[in-house]
């Protein structure tokens, strides 16, 4: 692996940048692996990386239907935060946030993690009470979160309109200063490069069409468009297609796949210093390093795998944003797209063993999986390697829907979906 540094950049510059090599090996699948990860997004590539790095396993393949990180990894709004209400969730997301903080150094790859803060705006008395409860709950768990008055909100994010005369005036906000954004592609590519360097085979354009099992029940491998591949363990990290892939092993999941849309504006100079979210009127905005305003819209309320959605959904978000930030009223929107999110009834993920021996699943991240990329990958790798969950992801089972031990984060999502 070519190490990236100021020195290597200088040396390649002397050779007119002709000496850079591909960042990961392009391989044909072998007949058998110890572990196959289904899904080459951030979560799947990260799981392969941590299996190799922390658990010493090398005979691993990641199989991806399309190209690396072309699904939800490329389609989200790159928000990273850990200000969730319940102990189970906040410890999971905080585990991830801590990994984000060291990720660029660890991978020798600039994931452009920028801790610019995340401000969740309150517009009603109910919002104020709920967000203050979040602030207190987070602080008890050692997670930074603080309450800002409307004046402090304005000082922290000047474009916001704190006039009491708008339809939903700003009554305050909860600010997590360690929250931020990162470059989505870089996370996946960084994990892929580091995993490939340790011997993980990354196989693109290879769709899994079946999961094969022994008469005794345990998995024996996968059928793919490039032929059958044997494996002792299979980890499914297929986001919106989790129900489809797990259905191949006869497992039903508590998931509904919905389109979630996002859009970006034309690029402008730095104008928006932080991430602002409003649950009540559904605004969700930050500015990328390229200068585009990155805007998250709502989910379309029906099952769909189309990776698009209705225009009225982003229009609703833009109405809210232009009321909160009047200076964006003449900003033109450049691109919009949709991703397929896998939503659980309690809006909490599943990172767990399944009833099928050798089959593991990491799914249900719904509308908020990007922030969890290193954390989920790390704990999914642990679960696969040790055949038991890490204490942090132990509550996030499929069985919680049978036992009633739901982790109801529906109200704690940044915006209502």
């Amino acid at each position: 692996m070519q190490k990236f540094s100021a020195f290597s950049l200088f040396r390649q510059a002397l050779g007119a940048h002709q000496g850079w090599k591909p960042q990961w090996r392009s391989v044909k699948p072998k007949a058998a692996y110890d572990i196959i990860i289904v899904g080459g997004g951030g979560h799947g590539l990260g799981a392969a990386y941590y299996l190799a790095k922390q658990h010493g396993l090398r005979n691993i393949a990641v199989v991806e239907r399309g190209w690396l990180a072309g699904g939800n990894t490329a389609r989200n709004t790159t928000i990273i935060r850990s200000n969730y209400l319940f102990d189970e969730s906040s410890s999971y997301y905080e585990h991830s946030l801590k990994l984000w903080e060291g990720l660029s150094q660890e991978l020798n790859y600039n994931v452009m993690f920028s801790q610019r803060g995340c401000l969740m705006i309150a517009h009603t008395v109910h919002d104020v009470q709920v967000f203050k409860r979040h602030v207190y709950a987070n602080r008890l768990n050692g997670i930074d979160n603080e309450w800002l008055t409307p004046q402090e909100v304005k000082e922290f994010c000047p474009p916001l309109n704190i006039s009491p005369n708008i339809r939903y005036p700003i009554l305050g906000g909860a600010l997590q200063r360690r929250a931020g954004t990162a470059r989505h592609d870089a996370v996946a590519w960084g994990f892929a490069r580091a995993a490939s360097d340790m011997g993980v085979d990354i196989i693109e354009n290879c769709e899994v069409t079946g999961i094969t099992r022994a008469p005794s029940g345990e998995v024996t491998g996968v059928e793919t468009t490039l032929g059958p591949i044997k494996a002792r363990k299979i980890g499914v990290s297929a986001a919106g297609h989790s129900s489809v892939v797990m259905g191949m092993a006869g497992i039903r999941l508590p998931l509904q796949s919905n389109p979630l849309q996002a859009l970006v504006s034309e690029p402008v100079k730095p104008a928006f210093p932080t991430i602002v979210m409003s649950n009540t009127i559904h605004a969700y905005i930050s500015q990328s390093d390229k200068g585009e305003m990155v805007i998250g819209a709502g989910t379309d309320g029906y099952v769909s795998y189309t990776q698009r959605g209705g225009l009225h959904i982003p229009a609703h978000t833009l109405e809210a944003i232009t009321e909160l930030c009047p200076m964006f009223r003449r900003l033109r929107m450049m691109r919009s797209w949709g991703g397929i999110t896998d939503n659980t009834p309690d809006r909490s993920p599943i990172t767990a063993k399944t009833s099928v021996p050798g089959l593991y699943v990491n799914c249900g991240w719904g509308t908020g999986g990007f922030k969890a990329t290193p954390g989920a990958a790390n704990l999914f790798a642990w679960t696969i390697a040790k055949d038991e969950p890490h204490p942090i992801n132990a509550p996030f089972t499929i069985e919680r829907f049978r036992e009633g031990a739901l982790i109801d984060e529906a109200a704690a999502a940044a915006v209502a979906h």
Partner: protein, 101 residues
């Protein structure tokens, strides 16, 4: 935005409707006889198909009535809508191919 045919009012814009999730999930006739696994299946587990789905819609900003629809989740094309209480209709391969197009 989808164009949805309410069986009672005709074709209307999607914003008039609310989706009610997968159709034909009957409430258990004898709830006390169910074990936890059967309750979990009834309450939470879903087929979430990539392909044809039978689903409920409510014409919330119209007649207010529930009805069912057959739709292909790969294209969002409707095959048909039908009244509550009717069984899931059988469709021809041509209809399925048209919805998948």
């Amino acid at each position: 935005m989808l164009l949805i045919k309410c069986p009672y009012c005709g074709e209307r814009a999607e914003v008039e409707f609310a989706n009610g999730g997968e159709a034909h999930i009957a409430r258990p006739a004898d709830p006390m006889a169910l074990n936890d696994e059967q309750w979990a299946q009834y309450l939470y587990m879903r087929d979430n198909p990539k392909g044809l789905i039978a689903e409920r819609w409510r014409h919330a900003h119209g007649c207010g009535r529930f009805f069912n629809a057959l739709r292909d989740t790969r294209t969002d094309r409707f095959v048909m809508t039908y009244e509550m209480g009717q069984p899931r209709p059988d469709i021809t391969p041509e209809q399925a191919a048209e919805a998948a197009r």
